[in-house]
Amino acid sequence: METLAALLLAAFVAGYFVLAGADVGLGMLLPLLGRGRAERGSVLAAGIGPLFFANEVWLVAAAGVFAGCFPALEGELFGRLLPVLVPLLAGWLLRDAGLWWRRVSAAPVLDGLVVAGSWLLAGSWGWLLASLLVGGERPGPAPVVTGALTAAVVALLFLAHGLSLSTRRLVGEPLRRARQLTGGRTDGATRLLTSVVMAALPVLAGARLPLTEHAAGDTTLLFQLPLLCAALPLLLAAQWWLRRTASTTPHHNHPRGT
């Protein structure tokens, strides 16, 4: 049962890295791909916009599963990694605020929030993954040099993943610029490769955490695991429906949007 809880946690974290990782990469590349508010809007709308926060919910759910199935470890780990989590959360918040407010305001500073927040978030993920990789069973914040190096590599991965997924959805000038950046070498195989790397990265980094030893008691797991496992296919179905809806064109006989 402890293993099942660990697998569930891994699934949610991997889901976040694959789906939201591409959004973050796209946010980092925003100044390169789109010139002017309208173009940048089309980049965001293609990659993130119609789905709102539907990709980030994977991480929110992962943190919930972590707290529910491994409560003692969650507090210990988050407490010790506080200096890493502060910039990570700050980046996440800034990015979300920029994305959300962009819908109702044309202030140019909002694009800046999206870009800066995305970079801060990707870099912080690098530092966090470095901390997990070098920290063993009781990880603390990784040393600055290790952290910075990993952050650079992870930021590049986010960029590559964002590019590889976005070329399928972008149009017009942003698509041309994205193709220039990739040299036109993105296809199904690239998408699969970057997705697998993104999914594997956090799972490998977290593999050394003593999860099964610190799982919650049997009653707690028995209470929540069946519900969580039963929900997973339904969540996937709802997200698939959302993605399919976002890719269809709206009817034009109705006024647009709320």
């Binding site: 916009g49 709102f52 919910v57 929110v60 599963v65 502060v86 919650a216 809806t245």
Partner: protein
């Protein structure tokens, strides 16, 4: 544990949770009103004023939803970052409610909110209506799961102690049916509906004062919806509040005695706690707890009379169109539910101190092993960030509210 770390961690959690709570109050209440309005619009065949109402108030709902989410994210992580001792000692007993909240409620709510927004131009109107009901019901489910956790902290149920002195879940049904949770759920959700209804009435009154009524009576109708929702919501909120006040005399006598300023009872509670738990101060901060409790009661008292009068005035078409004094009064009422909500929350949470899990774990024993410098850094980052998020949220919300129902596009581009 460093006393400064404890204070900073408490400040940070109070700001985060309090800010989140106020945003969510409006979101939850507006979602309910929207679901009913869209049901009405759908039954009548779509289009018309009912659909315009859903689009206008839906836009305000969505603006407010975003910052509610980001503050909620911070709260979720902060529980582990700053309060590791709580997860270590009691996470097994109540942490599952947080997992179930994120997966069964929040995940579904966010996904279906996106579906609802995209669905305007894409779905059959009944399917579109169904997506909004899923959003609304999962928002209530979310509030329920959070109050399962909060109810456990205030009045622990369904747990047992393990051999190594920690808590574990023994009886999930007792955890889920905790009377403290259920009463708070009724009180808070009705309070949220009251907050949204008064907001709706106040914004509509603003447009009527400015002579910006639409030809189809858009704001008159909104005002009536607000007033006729606020009255029953106020009644339900007060009822659940009264039942809770009676119940806490038994559950948390120190909290009740602080509100009553009953020195004899306070001395008795203190003596009883010392006998049970050893020497220490077992009474909550009197000024904060009592001040918050009285503020809450005062805000409700100030709302009651004008809302009762509004119930009558709303039946009189001339008053709805022209009675300026009443419109200005409705506008002035908008902050009052917020004051009552936040004061009620401070009363609930400050009044259970010094416990984080009532009678089982002290707040000072729950804080993470984090240096004061780290906690100060965290507060220095999140404090101003929060302030800006909430300030900009209100600015954008009021700006969109003031523009009226004509500009209702929420595309990202």
């Amino acid at each position: 544990m460093d006393a400064e770390t404890l204070d900073l961690a408490r400040w940070q959690f109070a700001l985060t949770a309090g800010g989140h709570f106020l945003l969510v109050a409006l979101t939850l209440g507006l979602a309910t009103i929207l679901a009913v309005l869209q049901t009405w619009a759908t039954v009548r065949g779509g289009g018309g004023t009912a659909e315009r109402l859903v689009r206008y108030w839906g836009r305000l709902y969505v603006i407010n939803y975003g910052v509610g989410i980001v503050t909620g994210i911070l709260m979720e992580f902060q529980l582990g970052m700053a309060w590791a001792g709580l997860g270590h000692y009691a996470g097994d007993a109540f942490g599952s409610s947080l997992a179930l909240e994120t997966v069964l409620a929040f995940f579904v709510e966010s996904t279906f909110l996106a579906l609802w927004l995209l669905g305007w131009d894409r779905f059959n109107r009944w399917v579109h209506l169904a997506t909004l009901w899923v959003v609304t019901l999962t928002a209530y489910l979310s509030a329920y799961w959070i109050l399962v956790a909060n109810g456990f902290l205030n009045h622990p149920r369904g747990h047992r102690e393990t051999a190594d002195g920690r808590l574990e879940l023994a009886d999930p049904v007792a955890l889920l049916a905790n009377p403290n949770t259920l009463l708070a759920f009724g009180h808070v959700t009705a309070g949220a509906l009251l907050t949204a209804a008064v907001f709706m009435a106040g914004v509509s009154a603003f447009h009527l004062v400015k002579n910006r009524e639409e030809p189809d009576g858009f704001f008159r109708r909104s005002l009536r919806v607000g007033v006729f929702t606020a009255l029953p919501a106020l009644f339900v909120t007060v009822t659940f509040g009264g039942v809770q006040l009676a119940a806490i005399r038994e559950w948390q006598p120190g909290k009740a005695a602080t509100l009553d300023h009953d020195t004899a009872e306070l001395a008795r509670v203190q003596a009883e706690m010392v006998a049970r738990f050893g020497p220490g101060d077992y009474l909550p901060d009197a000024a904060l707890t009592r001040g918050a409790g009285l503020t809450m009661l005062l805000a409700f008292a100030l709302l009651t009379l004008p809302l009762l009068a509004s119930g009558l005035l709303a039946l009189w078409p001339w008053a709805v169109r022209r009675l300026r004094v009443w419109h200005l009064t409705l506008m002035a009422l908008v902050p009052l539910p917020y004051v009552a909500m936040i004061a009620g929350w401070v009363f609930r949470e400050a009044g259970r101190q010094p416990w984080v899990v009532y009678g089982l774990l002290r707040t000072e024993d729950a804080v993470s092993q984090v240096s004061a410098t780290q906690m100060r850094l965290s507060l220095a980052v999140f404090g101003p960030l929060f302030f800006v998020l909430i300030a900009v949220n209100w600015w954008l919300l009021l700006r969109a509210a003031g523009r009226g129902p004509h500009r209702t596009d929420l595309r990202v581009g």
